[in-house]
Symmetry: C2
């Protein structure tokens, strides 16, 4: 199996774009025509009592799948990867999980990397089940094994320690997959645990630094031909201050040189291209920047709102994806990274 | 809505049992008759090529649901709560999640508490989606809201900090639900993050102690009539040494007096009744002990293996549940807790 980091970096090179599109579908932000299509297809009416509730779940999941496919069709020549966020699918129970599976398949059918953002983990045997579910193969009652969600990459929570990360590593080896361990998340209260300073006997590092070190050690087993590991880290692009943010990204970069940082928080959470630079190595690689809400709902936000009608939400998303790419590439160029020079 | 901690404690009193049954279905451990029934019902044959793979997933999920229902039928007069572990259902994609939903509904139909062990969390809006998915109501494309998985309680990962725990708290208030925050997990490498000692400026506490303090503060908003909060903690029953284990449970108890500890690791992971005592308060409440594999697969383990045939796996599970209850209650009695005296 080809190393997942190699696959991701090759796509970043091919498209000249180290960013990815977050698929966090919120039906309240869907354009009317998709809602109407879903209601018609499932023979439902708005707010009518006594309709079949399971059919309402199915119609909702169907709308999510259509929305995603339109977005992917409009941007797959620009984006090397997409990141569906599991919570938004899980909300719709079995039909939602089917929409997640179909979204992953659709991303892969376009030759793009599907990153399931599920932040899973548990004790060993259970971690194995999560790894099988999202990246590997699962045992069926007929005695055969089959792929389940079979995404390319998965976000993984490190709070339980390395014996719970190991099953993911083994599945990554078997099937050419990758993981991103949460080191530093982009929400304000991430500091409450992640930024706590440890005692001198632990080197006085912060908790997130300890996680980055752990990721570095585990990642050694999955380094590809391009010198990067399929064990990366989530490193938030928004934070208390841009300075603090830069300092933390630089620290993580120093502690784990061959990890690829998945950098969420671009756009909505206040991050910009310039804020992501510290996540890259001198060779111009080592990070992939995610944008969700200012990408898929660009049609609702400035500066695109005035230019795109809701029916053209896919065109707005395409424009937002192009602008994100250019913003990040320009920032890398201005920072002097040769890889990104004209 | 009635407070969830009150509901749980009332059931513990009614059944005289502070323990719960873990539903971690692994089809490799299922008795033959369930496998055969599933194959027959879905018109499948073992290891036959070119069968409909989606039907194989459905048959597997159906078997899981049957297995769970038989276990629940056999033990619902003994156990106040059941804890399905999400990973084992997620493995089977949409059909698996349907089996999870049906299992939760079945537990609730018996008047018992359904604890979904999913260890979820993410940044705020996404945490809200997870909270809605597992404990609350979700918006449908028809404009109405409906319950999704609607379990009674959910395990939640604290690594992202309190702004990501807040959405769960709000959903708990609205619908009378509860959460367990992971403080100290029962796997060996849990010490790698959770046991790290913090710097003096943070009071020199360990990371898990900081989480217990956070749980205490957040839990104040959900204290019921019985003095316990619907915000509890996961506190592992197995550990490096019984002494260390006891010390950590006592520390957590001291830091968060009204949190209910969900104590996994009984049985399989090496915990026994006596190891769980430190998780209880002087009033004899404050913990619920979970047993999964030595409960549902008791028929495969000593001392029950020689007494129960695979077809009687539910009787073995019942016997294991009774023995667990008696073991824990005896340990509490011997420790001098009046609540549990004869």
């Amino acid at each position: 199996m080809r190393n997942c980091a190699d696959r991701l970096l090759d796509l970043i090179d091919e498209l000249g774009n180290p960013s990815c599109g977050g698929l966090d579908p919120n039906i309240n932000n869907f354009p009317d025509f998709i809602v109407k299509e879903a209601l018609k297809k499932f023979d439902l009416e708005p707010r009518k009592p006594d309709q079949d509730i399971e059919k309402e779940f199915e119609a909702t999941a169907w709308a999510i799948e259509q929305f995603n496919k339109i977005i992917i069709d409009s941007t797959a020549d620009i984006l090397p990867a997409y990141k569906p966020q599991s919570a938004y699918y899980e909300q719709y129970k079995a039909p939602g999980m089917k929409a997640l599976e179909n979204t992953i398949r659709y991303i892969q059918s376009k030759g793009r990397i599907a990153i399931t953002d599920a932040k899973r983990n548990d004790i060993q045997e259970t971690a194995q089940a999560y790894a099988n579910a999202h990246l590997g193969m699962v045992p069926l009652i007929t005695g055969v094994y089959a792929p389940a969600f079979y995404a390319d990459m998965l976000t993984v929570n490190p709070y339980l320690g390395s014996d719970c990360i190991r099953p993911f590593i083994e599945v990554c080896k078997l099937y050419g997959k990758g993981i991103f361990l949460l080191a530093k998340t982009s929400n304000p209260s991430s500091q409450e645990v992640q930024d706590l300073e440890l005692a001198k006997k632990h080197g006085g590092r912060d908790v997130y630094e300890q996680v980055a070190l752990k990721a570095e050690i585990l990642g050694r087993e999955l380094i590809g031909n391009r010198g990067y590991s399929s064990v990366g880290m989530v490193v938030g692009a928004s934070g208390e201050t841009p300075e603090k943010l830069k300092e933390q990204a630089e620290t993580i970069r120093r502690l784990n040189a061959y990890g690829i940082n998945l950098v969420p928080g671009y756009g909505t959470q206040g991050g910009f291209g310039i804020d992501t630079v510290a996540n890259f190595n001198g060779d111009g690689y080592g990070a992939i920047v995610n944008n969700a809400r200012k990408f898929i709902y660009a049609y609702m936000s400035d500066p695109w709102k005035s230019k795109y009608k809701p029916e053209k939400f896919d065109k707005a998303a395409r424009q937002a994806a192009i602008e994100m790419r250019d913003d990040i590439v320009n920032a890398l160029r201005e920072a002097g990274f040769k890889r990104w020079s004209k």
